[in-house]
Structure formats: structure tokens, C-alpha cells
């Protein structure tokens, strides 16, 4: 069971500069645990201390955002490609403040 994982520039310090690494797992959560064994610290940049997916990253299975695939429970199959990208967001007002205002 091999999953090809694409690493963004900002996280390549965890993979010795490698742009892509290989991992294994039946779900995204399993894959990230497997990867953290080989690349310590990587998982912590993707998952919050509460165990959810970090809002600063987008993770895709093939070309689908995992937020639409059950997030960390997203199922993986041999030969899938998992792509990690930095979420690009920001703006004049803090998002946290904005979300609080919107209730």
C-alpha cells in the first residue's frame, strides 16, 4: 500500500528537502501517523492539538479536498496521491474576529 505524498515548500524542512515522499495507511489519519514516524514533526503542522485538520493547510486526495471526503477519516487506496498545500487566505480583518461576529 503506497501513497505518494506531495510536500509544499514550507514543510520540506521535515522531509530533508524532498518534494514528494511515500507513505502508507487506510485513512488520512493513518497516513499522517505513518509519515510522522519517518518525518517527525510533520503531523504537528497539519493537525491541531485538538485533533482536527489545521486551517492553515489544504490536503487533497487525488484532486479532491479532504474536507469533502470526511477529513482525517478520508479513505485511501494504493496508488492515491495526497497533496498538501498551504491555504492561501487573509484579509484586513482577522478571520477569527470575523467568524465570531458572524456567529
Amino acid at each position: 500500500m503506497a501513497i505518494d505524498v506531495r510536500i509544499p515548500t514550507i514543510l520540506r524542512s521535515f522531509t530533508g528537502g524532498a518534494k514528494a515522499v511515500s507513505g502508507a495507511g487506510d485513512t488520512l489519519a493513518d497516513l499522517l501517523t505513518d509519515l510522522d514516524g519517518k518525518h517527525p514533526g510533520l503531523r504537528g503542522r497539519l493537525i491541531t492539538p485538538e485533533g482536527g485538520l489545521h486551517r492553515f493547510v489544504n490536503i487533497y486526495v487525488n484532486d479532491e479536498d479532504v474536507r469533502f471526503l470526511g477529513s482525517l477519516d478520508a479513505k485511501l487506496n494504493d496508488g492515491d496521491t495526497v497533496t498538501i498545500l498551504p491555504a492561501v487566505a487573509g484579509g484586513a480583518l482577522g478571520l477569527t474576529v470575523a467568524h465570531a461576529l458572524r456567529g
Binding site: P8, T9, I10, F56, V57, N58, Y60, D63, D65, R67, T83, L85, P86, A87, V88, A89, G90, G91, A92, L93, G94, L95, T96, A98
Partner: protein, 155 residues
């Protein structure tokens, strides 16, 4: 790491036009260039998935497609830009916390004044913001032309 953003005037004009078109919502996008070149060559306006006057977010599906295309072409995001529509062109706390492309110039455009557009560029690394001058050139083919405009003084 360079300490200035050098960009073609035509691309800068297109970014400002995009920001003016979407005003009062924030506009956002990318200028791609060959990996390691530090040359922003291909302007890609992006959708603001938030359609908001105070924040922006790239649509995740569109971002995936655009980033995959850059990868295929051996490009990277040389410039990541967005507009502030009621405040100055300076990175907010949110902008800093999200800045995830260490090689990118973060270009901010303020459209708060109808007649004059403020354009400023920043490096954002590990939460540290460093402003840099913006050098607009007519064309990379001719290098720094005599009509180059230095936006540094307009901030």
C-alpha cells in the same frame, strides 16, 4: 533572498484593475514565474471564495488546479497578492498567520482611495514581516528601463 520585487508594469496594472473591479470586496491572485527565477511572469487572478470586504481565501479546488499547473510548468508562486479595500496596504495579523509560501512576495493593494492605489510588497517568514521596494519595469527583456517607477515612495 532578494530584497525587492521587480515586476512588469503591465502585470501591476492588471492586478490593480482586478482589485478595482472587485472593490469593495477583497481581490486575490497569484503571479507565477519559473522556479528559482524570482520573476513574476504569468498573472492568475483567483476567486475570493469568501466574497468579503474584510477577508479572502483562495477556493481550494481552484488553488489545487492552479498549483498543479504551475508544477507542470516548473513554476512557483512568485507573487501572492490581495487587496485591502478600506485600510492600508499592510499585512494584517491574519495575513501573517496564513503566509505559507516562503519564496513568495506578498503584494498588497489598497483601494480605499478612489483616485490613488497604494501598492506595497512584503516578505513574510516565520511571522516576521519585511517590507521591500516594488520596482515596476516595462519589460524583463530590456531590464530596468528609464521609465521604471519606484513605488517605494508612494506608501
Amino acid at each position: 533572498m532578494t530584497t525587492a520585487l521587480t515586476i512588469e508594469q503591465a502585470i501591476l496594472d492588471a492586478i490593480v484593475a482586478h482589485a478595482r473591479r472587485d472593490h469593495p470586496d477583497e481581490a486575490c491572485g497569484v503571479v507565477a514565474g519559473p522556479v528559482g527565477s524570482d520573476r513574476p511572469m504569468r498573472h492568475i487572478p483567483m476567486d475570493n471564495a469568501e466574497r468579503s470586504t474584510t477577508f479572502y481565501r483562495f477556493d481550494s479546488k481552484e488553488q489545487f488546479r492552479v498549483w498543479a499547473e504551475m508544477d507542470d510548468r516548473d513554476e512557483e508562486p512568485v507573487v501572492i497578492y490581495h487587496s485591502h479595500t478600506a485600510t492600508e496596504a499592510y499585512p494584517s495579523r491574519t495575513d501573517i498567520s496564513y503566509a505559507g509560501e516562503p519564496n513568495a512576495h506578498y503584494l498588497l493593494v489598497s483601494t480605499r482611495e478612489p483616485e490613488q492605489t497604494e501598492i506595497r510588497s512584503f516578505r513574510i517568514l516565520d511571522g516576521v514581516v519585511t517590507e521591500e521596494p516594488v520596482n515596476a519595469v516595462q519589460s524583463y527583456m530590456f531590464g530596468q528601463s528609464p521609465s521604471a517607477v519606484d513605488y517605494e515612495c508612494r506608501s
